[in-house]
Amino acid sequence: MTDDELADRVRALLGGSVSCSVSYGTVTADVPRERWVEAASAVRDTLGMVFFDLLTAVDVLEDGFDVVVRLWAPADRHGLLLRTRCPRDDARVASLTSVFAGAAWHERQVWEMFDIDVDGHPGLTPLLLPPGFEGHPMRKEFVLAARVAKAWPGAKDPGESDSDLATGRPRRRLQPPGVPRPGSRP
C-alpha cells in the first residue's frame, strides 16, 4: 500500500472532520480533539495499527500545542501519525490509555514537560523530572538554565575571538536562535 492509498483509507475511515497529508514519506492525520480517542481506536481496529510507537507534543506557540501519536501496522509495515491540536489556554487531551495501555508513560511525560492535562489518565505523576522541579521544560517559554549560564559560541563574528567580545566596542550582537531573551518570560 502506498502512502497515498493509506491516506485515502484513513480519510474514508475517519470521515470529513479529519484532514490527511503525506509529507516526507509519513502519513499524518489531523484529528479534532473531541475525536482523539475514537480515531486512535478506529485505526487500531480497522487498519491494523496495533503497535503504539510513541506519543509526544509540539509547542506551536500562539496556535497552542500539537499532541502527536505514532502508530504502526506490523503486518502491513506502514505507520501513521495522528495529530490533534489544543489551545494554549485550554491545554488538555483525552487519554489514550483505554486504547493503548502503553500510552500512560508517554502521557505522563507530555503532562510534566508541556503542562498538557490528560483527561482520564490513571495516574498523572511526574515520570522524569525530579521532585520539586518547577516549570515545564519542553514549553518554548521555558528558559534553560544551561542557555543562560553559558555564553553562545556563535556570538563572535569571523575574525573575532573571546577577548574581542570582552573589549570590543559595544554593538548589537547576533543572538542565538530559539533562545528567549532574558526577561521575555510571560
Partner: protein, 124 residues
Amino acid sequence: MTAVPDRARGVIALHEDSCTSCMLCARECPDWCIYIDSHKETRPPSTPHGHPRVEAVLDRFAIDFSLCMYCGICIEVCPFDALFWSPEYSYAGPDPLSLLQERDELGTWLRSVPEPEPGSTDVR
C-alpha cells in the same frame, strides 16, 4: 560481529585548510559545542592596482564531544567542506574534558574519512 560501516557517524573530522572561520557551524550547532576563535589579517593586493584583502585566520577550532549529539548539522551547513564524518568511535577518556577536542585532534580523524560514494550527487 561485523565491522563498522565506513560511513558510520563516529566522530567529526576537521580539514583545517578549508575552514574560513565563517562561524556558520558554531551558530547552527543546537548543542553550542563548537568553539571558534579567529583574527583578521590583511593580505597584499594580488594585482598591481588591486585592493588589499582582509581575511579571517583560524586560531582555535574545538568540538566538545561531551555535548555533541552527532546530528551532523555542522557538516551539512559548512559551505567550504571543512567538516566530515569519520567512522572512528574509540575516543572515550577518563574525564569529560578529554572529549573537548582541539583542531589538531579533529584533524587526525581525516585519515578515516571515506571517499564520496561513486555516482553521488553530493559534491562532498
